[in-house]
Each structure stands twice: as C-alpha cells, then as structure tokens.
C-alpha cells in the first residue's frame, strides 16, 4: 500500500459519494411524483479496493404492479357503466329530492301514475272540460316522458360509442409511446445504461393502458415487454398492434354499435367473441352501449306498447271491427299491437291528434271513445252521449292496472300491469346501478390500497433518503480529510527532501 494508492482510493471514493448523492437528490426530487420508484446505486469494490458505481437499480414490485393493473381495469369498467346509468337515472329524476321518489320524477312510471290520477279525477267530473284537458295534458306528459327516456338512452349509447372511440385513440397513442420507451429500454439494457427512469415511464404507460382495457404482460430477458389483453389477444409485441374501431354516427333503438378490433379480431362489443376482453373502460362502455341501455330501451318500448294497448278501443257494436289504438298511438299504427316488443316504440309514441284540441281533436273522446277513428260508430263507448258517462274513464283507469303480456326480452315479469311494469323497470335500473356502484366503490378501494402498497414498496421515503444523505456527507468528509492527510504527508516528505 503506497501513499499514492491511498490518495487514489480517497479520490475515487469522493467520486462514488458524489454519484450516490446525485441519486439521493434524484430520489428527493421524485418523492412526490406518482409512479416514481426509488433508485438504488449499485456499488462494487475494485480489486485494489476502490469503490465505484456500476449502475442504478430501482425498487420495484412486479406482483403489486400486476394487481394494480387489474384493479385499474375493473374500476374503469364499472365507472363507465355507473356513469351511464346515473345519467339515465338523473334524467328520470329518481335520485333527486322530493317527498317521494315518484313525486318529482319525470319517469314513465310517475307519468303513468299522474295520468291515472287525472283520469280518476276526470271520471268524478266527466262533464268538466278542465278535467278532460288535465287528463290530456298528463297523457302528453307521459308520451313526452317516454320519448325523452328513449332519447336519453340513445344519447347515452351515442356517448358510450364516442367514448369508445376516444378510448381506442388513447390506447393507440399509449401503445405508440410504449413502443419508443420499450425500444429505449432494450437498447439501454444492452448497453448497460441507466434505464430506471424509462422503466418507471413504461410502468406508468401500462397503468394508463390498463384503465382502457384489461392487460397481462410478459417481460423477456432482454428487457423487452409483450402486452396481451386479458382475453389473450396480443396488443404489443415489438410493435403495437392496430386497435381499430368504427364509430356509429347516430343511434336509434335498433342501431347496433360496432366492435373494437385488434388485428381484425373482435375484442370488445356484442356479440362477445371467445377472445373478448374482460375488463377495462372499453368493456364497460360496450356493456353499457350493447347490453344495459338496449335492455332498458326494450323496457320503455314495452311500456309504450302496453300503453297503446291499454288505451286501445275495441268494437262496441259487435260488427267485428278490429281493435285500434286510442289515446296513444304511433306513426304507421294500423291495429293495436299485440304482444311482442316493437323496437323504438317509446320514441314514436304520441297522443292521438284526434283527442288533442290543439290539433283539431276533441278531448271528450277520452270519455266517449272514438279517438281511434272519429265518426265511426263502432268505437263510440258513450252511445247515448250522456255528459256524465264515466264508464269508459273508469275502464281506462282499470286498464292501466290490469295485467297484460310483456315481452321476455325486457327481462321483467311476463304478466304485469303497465303501471307496475314501468315501476319494475325503474327498479331494474336502480338495481343495476346499485350493483355496479357497489362494485365500483370496492374496486376504487382496491385501487387506492394497491397503489399505496405499490408506492410504499417502490416509492421514496424522504427520511430514508435524508439519513442516507447524512451517511454520504460523513463519508465525503472522511475521504476529503484523508486526501488532506495524504497531501500533508507528501508536503512533509518534500520539505524533508529539500532540506
């Protein structure tokens, strides 16, 4: 061991300490950045005992990252569904204030109840034109409520479709970034460069991607990463796969939405393929667009059809004339529709113009019949023309509460009154929303917990870094002292030689 070697070691140690200080300060600056993992200097001691930094590693926990990716996907999916359902429900006003759920509500169920009340009031004063107009106004409200609900449902589908498009664009965008980062990592690792920040960035991109679609990843020895969807379709391998989607410009009840395809394989959208993705926002949006909203549409369609039927007018003379739509009708209606859902009927239902004075009709046809075909004696219920004839009105009130057959496609009771079918439909919507929101609350708790655990496992603790800094300071001081000592010894030596 020579004096010059001691000087050399002290010198190199100074270098190592300042490099480590550099990493500590990097860690401190990244302490409050989400997804930043703490960097750890990798030190080796050379043959002659000099310490040097050969690389930088990072604290990472791939298992926790995996659970976070899964939780992200689940949460994003249920958020998409619950947002859509909440929009429909808010439109129907169920969740708003009021003494009772039906009072302040624009839902078809509440409108039916209002109409039934108005008809009951009209039946007690059959001679009162104000009562007739009131019943007519409630009937118009009901038709409007059904039209509105149908419009809202299709609007929610449209929005979901647009969100799918944005989501797909985002996926492609993230995949493009991913490709660059991934390539840099492979190159950097081959050159043994510091790739930790890029690894952080890659994890962040994965986390971003997982909210859109459920993913699984495989890391290869070269540092290269392959991404599959949770349904097993390759999303990225060396290069991104093309994720494509054709948005639908406008939605009506019968309009199907297009699916999301990866390399031509349908992964999202009805009908579900075997390779369909199982979680993520895209899946939630597709479920909303292709299953839940259309199901609710079928229900309001059935309410509309049930109403047309309940208010239909049958032959009163026994001449065998067909049963025709009465107070409620729709464009192109010929006879009163029998059982079986008519897609989109809720958007088409109107109050018959023959009953509406504003359109040249007569609101007393509610009481007397004849709304279906004015002037035809077959459909006149009030044969004597008595102004106190309340039988038909009472019949209509009964018809709203009388059981009739409903389409199984609505997923509700097959035999039900139109009033309670509409109420059940509201119940169905609330139950769906409750279910998905419960799931969402749970999933966001999981996301919070997991991201905290991941942050704890891989993130920076300031106190930890500060104590490391203290140790580095001491070691720097010691090395500097050592250098000064060596210097002093040389000085003493040279003094001695000169003498």
């Amino acid at each position: 061991m020579t004096l010059s070697l001691a000087g050399l070691i002290a010198n190199e140690s100074l270098g190592a300490v300042s490099a480590q200080t550099g990493i500590v300060s990097r860690n401190i600056s990244g302490a409050s950045v989400q997804g930043y993992s703490a960097k750890i200097p990798q030190l080796v001691t050379s043959d002659h005992g000099t310490p040097s930094i050969v690389g930088v590693a990072r604290q990472a926990d791939s298992a926790l990252l995996k659970s976070l990716l899964a939780a992200n996907a689940e949460q994003a999916g249920s958020t998409a569904v619950s947002d859509g359902l909440r929009r429909i429900e808010q439109f129907l006003n169920v969740a708003l204030d009021g003494p009772s759920a039906v009072d302040s509500s624009a839902s078809p169920a509440a409108a039916i109840s209002n109409l039934s009340s108005a008809l009951q009031a009209y039946s007690a004063s059959p001679n009162d034109p104000i009562a007739a107009d009131n019943a007519l106004a409630r009937a118009k409200d009901l038709a409007k409520s059904l039209n509105g609900a149908s419009g809202m449902i299709q609007d929610v589908r449209q929005q979901a479709d647009q969100s799918i498009q944005q989501s797909v664009a985002h996926v492609n965008d993230v995949l493009a970034k991913f490709e660059r980062v991934n390539k840099d990592i492979v190159v950097g690792m081959a050159a043994k460069a510091d790739v930790t920040d890029m690894l952080d960035e890659r994890d962040r991109l994965l986390s971003e991607l997982s909210t859109e679609i459920g993913i699984a990843t495989v890391q290869r020895p070269s540092g290269d990463m392959v991404i599959y969807t949770d349904g097993g379709v390759t999303l990225f391998e060396m290069t991104p796969r093309a994720v494509s989607f054709q948005p639908t410009p406008s939605f009506a009840a019968a309009t199907p939405g297009a699916g999301v395809q990866i390399d031509g394989v349908r992964v999202v959208g009805a009908p579900n393929s075997q390779l369909a993705a199982r979680s993520g926002r895209l899946v939630g949006l597709a479920q909303l667009r292709d299953e839940l909203a259309p199901r609710f549409q079928t229900q309001v369609d059935e309410v509309a059809r049930g109403l047309v039927q309940a208010f239909s007018e049958s032959d009163q003379t026994g001449s065998g004339a067909p049963t025709l739509p009465g107070l409620f009708t729709y464009d192109g209606a010929t006879v009163s529709p029998g059982p079986g859902a008519i897609t989109g009927l809720a958007a088409r239902i109107i109050v018959n113009p023959t009953v509406d004075p504003a359109q040249g009709g007569d609101s007393s046809r509610l009481r007397d019949g004849g709304a279906s075909s004015p002037g035809a004696p077959e459909y006149v219920y009030n044969a004597t023309g008595a102004s106190g004839f309340s039988d038909r009105l009472l019949q209509l009130v009964d018809a709203l509460a009388a059981p009739q057959a409903f389409d199984a496609a609505a997923g509700l009771r097959l035999q039900d009154s139109v009033a309670s079918f509409a109420a059940d439909s509201m119940g169905w919507l609330a139950a769906q929303r409750q279910q998905v929101e419960t799931k969402q609350t749970f999933q966001s708790a999981v996301v919070n917990q997991t991201s905290q655990a991941l942050s704890n496992a891989s993130g920076v603790n300031l106190d930890d870094q500060m104590s490391k800094m203290l140790a580095l300071e001491n070691s720097y001081q010691a090395s500097a002292k050592l250098l000064a000592a060596v210097n002093a010894m040389y000085s003493t030596l040279f003094e001695a030689i000169r003498v």
Binding site: A31, A95, A101, S113, N114, S387, G388, A422, A453
Partner: protein, 348 residues
Amino acid sequence: MTSVPSTYALSSSFRASLLEIETQLARARQELSTGRHADVSLTAGAAVARDVHLGARLDQLNTIFETNKIVGARLDTTQIALSSLTSTAADVRATLLRALSDGGDRKAIVAQARLALASFTATLNQTIGGDYVFGGENLDAAPAADYFAAPPSANKLALDNAFLSAFGMTQSDPAAASISAPAMESFLSVEMSALFSPPNWAADWSQASDEPLLARISFFKTTSVSITANDPAFRELAMGYTALSDLSLDALSDDAGDAVIRTAAQHIDRALAGLTKLQAAAGGMQAEVESANRTMTVQQGLFLSQIASIEGVDPTEAATRVNGLMTQIEIAYTLTAKIQQLSLVKYL
C-alpha cells in the same frame, strides 16, 4: 420486515381519506335535512320498484280522496233536496187529508200545490259545480221541465191535450163543473196516469238519464253515486202535484174534486214512501264513501310508512353519523398537520 411508507403514499392517503370522509359528510348532512337517503336508488336498489309502485298508489289514493269529496258533496246535496221534497210533500198531504174530512178551501189547495210543483222542479234542477245533481249521467241538461213555463212546455201541453180530448173542453172552461166523479176518476187513472209513464215522463218531463253516475270510491269499488230524476217516487209526486194544480180543482163539482184530491193523496203517499227509500239509498252511498275513506286513510298510513322504510333515514342515526364524521375529519386534520411537521429535515 415492515415496509417503509413512501412519502407520496403518506400524503396521498391522507388526501384520499379526507375526500372520502367529506363526501360521506355531505351525504349525511343532506339525509339529515331531508329525512331521505341521499341517493335512494343506490341505497334501495331493486326495492325502488316497490317504492315507485307505492308512491303511485299513494298518488291515486290522494286523488280518490279528492274525487270522493266531489261525490260526497253531490250526495249531501241529494240528501238535502230529498228531505226538502219530503217535507213539502208531507205538508201537502196533511192539507189533503184535512180537505177530505172537511171539504177544505180548494183554492188554497190549488195554490199550495202549484207552489209545491214549482219547488219540486227547482229542487230537481239543483246543480253543484254546474252539474245537475238529479240528472243521472246527463249532467248538463236540467232534468225537470218547468210546468209553468211560458210558452207552455211539453208536459203542460200534453195534459191540456189529454184533458181536451177526454172532456171536450179546456181546464179553465166553466163547464168543468159538470164533469162527473167517475169520469174524472177514469181520466186520472187512465189518460193522466199514462202521461207519467216512463216513456212519456222521459219525453215531456225529464231530461235525466236512467243510468246513475258511476264513480270509483276506492281502489276496488266502483259504485253508482247519484239518484236520477226518473225514479218512480218523483213521477208519483209530479202526478199528485199536477193533478191538484192544473185540473181546475176549484171549479169541479164536490164529488169530482174529492176524486182528484183522493187520487192525488194516494200518489203523494206512494211518493213519500219512495222518497224515504231514496233517502235510505243516498244515505247508504254516503256511508259507503265514508267507509271507503276510512279504509283509505289506513292504507295511506301504511303506504307512507312503507315508503319511509325504503326511502327514509333515521334522523337520530343520521345526526350521530354527522357528528362522528366531523370528529373524524378533525382528527384527520390534526394528524395531517402533525405528520407534516415530522420530518428529518427539521432536525438536520
């Protein structure tokens, strides 16, 4: 080895839990002030169907209460009218019975009968809210025709014609004194009775329909809630009054006059019996409406309590929750402040 919390996780977890508590606090406050769940459908789920259904039933119940008020007012008016008809008829009958024993003042009888007939018409033509109470289903036509209208109405003309063709003279003819008692009796029981038969009654006297008004007075009960002017009691009464007022009772011979009074008294007797039955019937309807109202009041309470059990929040529980959450927030604030102070940097 216990994991060291990262500085980011520490601060973000406080933020997340504070936000969560504040959201809960906002909900609890709203629930406390409204007494309902902040988001009923989220809390109740599928039970919303029952909730909506109950709400609809409650609405209908309230409407039926309102319509029962209309029905009740109609029946009250009917009762008052019936009892006024009964008391007038009883007065006339008392006069007739006195006249049969002592001959009486026929001019006075005619005057009383004319007044009674006029009041009969007015009573039957009572309206409530523009609807004729005794019209049956014909709410907008006065059920009873005015016998004393000018120009004479169909009922008066019909009697005049019958009288003319039976006796060959008008009622005001002084020769009426020559009409014999048997001839008068036969006129009363045949020609004049025919004028008050249902078809002629409907043609000349009454615009009412035979069909009574129908009304739903509870969820399951639809019943007739009016008495129509076509009831036999009214026909009998009209016949009695008309015979007394317009057969020139004061000009007839004593025997023929007695025959008129006797026959009229018989008709009024039958009318009184009929009126009593009608009063009982109207009373029965009133009782039905009242009992329906009583049942519905019970139902109303049941529905309200069922709705409350789905939508409602126990205020004590909500208040406790608000207090608890506020304490929690305070603790969270204090802790956050303390932990922020806790840093190695301060000691270096």
